[in-house]
Assembly symmetry: C6
Homo-oligomer: 76 residues x 6
């Protein structure tokens, strides 16, 4: 993927950190399946499948662990 | 999602931390499938499916790791 | 859920910590499916299904990571 | 389960730590399905199923993370 | 696999770290199935399967945790 | 398993650490299914199944987290 799509793990607060985690989960899919057309087709299927929604939520949870640690849990 | 839905990872005790973890697991689904109507339909299916309940419990476990670390395991 | 069901992550030893981890895994299911009747029905199915038993064991493993860290691995 | 089945997370070396991790993975199944008879029946099925063997290996990996951290990676 | 395919976990920024995480996820598959011919056949199947794309994204998330920690979250 | 199959988590560099992680993933399967004959039969099945290859890659990712931490990310 061209461009600068992940400049930093720093976010202003937990909510923006969570949104970054969701973005990282999508980026992981995008790096594996670069075709936007195919991803769009698949999306219609998986976002109506609760098992896959839970699996997506799990990937977000893993990335949120990383982003939260990178921001020292927004404690500073 | 509009509004301020994740102001802090700090909670008063482990129990509130666990409830926050469960909320984060739901938020992960919500960010992936924003339609409340579709999520409500899916809920009837997945909360009667033990495999999906266990998978949900796993996402909560991952977020609880993050919340517990953010609160220094409520040791202070 | 009413009451005080998670007062502390501190346990006297690793064994009690493991039992707490198993309790947290069940609590994650309970928060997602609050009906005891439905959970009891599902239990008969999943505790005869080795794949779901392994998945349950995985959720316990994740919580045990948290509980063990909270207790500084019972090193003190 | 009666008795003292998890006295410590300390092991003499990585190999004993790995064996303890495998024991913890089995204990997670045992706490969820206490009947030895049922577990024995299920074993015949799952240890011939590569997907379940990989899932078991994953639970061991999670516990090995905990045991390795508890032993400070046997660096001392 | 011959050659020097993983000289360092250090990267200049988060984006290169994420790309390294994706490479590590592929390396894990490659070590298990060394035949490029078989992997190419399988790729056509799995990159059209949203469940497998999410699973791939999860492996990337795990490796990104490692790479991010190795780089001290690019905070220095 | 007899012998000394895991003397140390120390490796000279990330690449050897990754190979150790892959070995640990295999050891987890071996401890659960000790029969080499059965494992060989299963191998033919799972290494042609992309979902299982991704799951194997995930177990390697978990062990690589442990090995990388044990080696202080080869920063020293």
């Amino acid at each position: 993927m061209a461009g600068n799509w992940l400049p930093s793990l720093k976010t202003a607060n937990p909510q923006e950190g969570f949104e970054l985690a969701a973005k990282l989960a999508r980026l992981g899919v995008k790096l594996t399946q670069p075709s936007e057309e195919i991803r769009d087709k698949l999306r219609t299927a998986y976002d109506h499948d609760s098992a896959q929604l839970i699996a997506s939520s799990q990937v977000i949870a893993l990335h949120f662990q990383t982003v939260a640690a990178a921001n020292n849990y927004w404690r500073d």
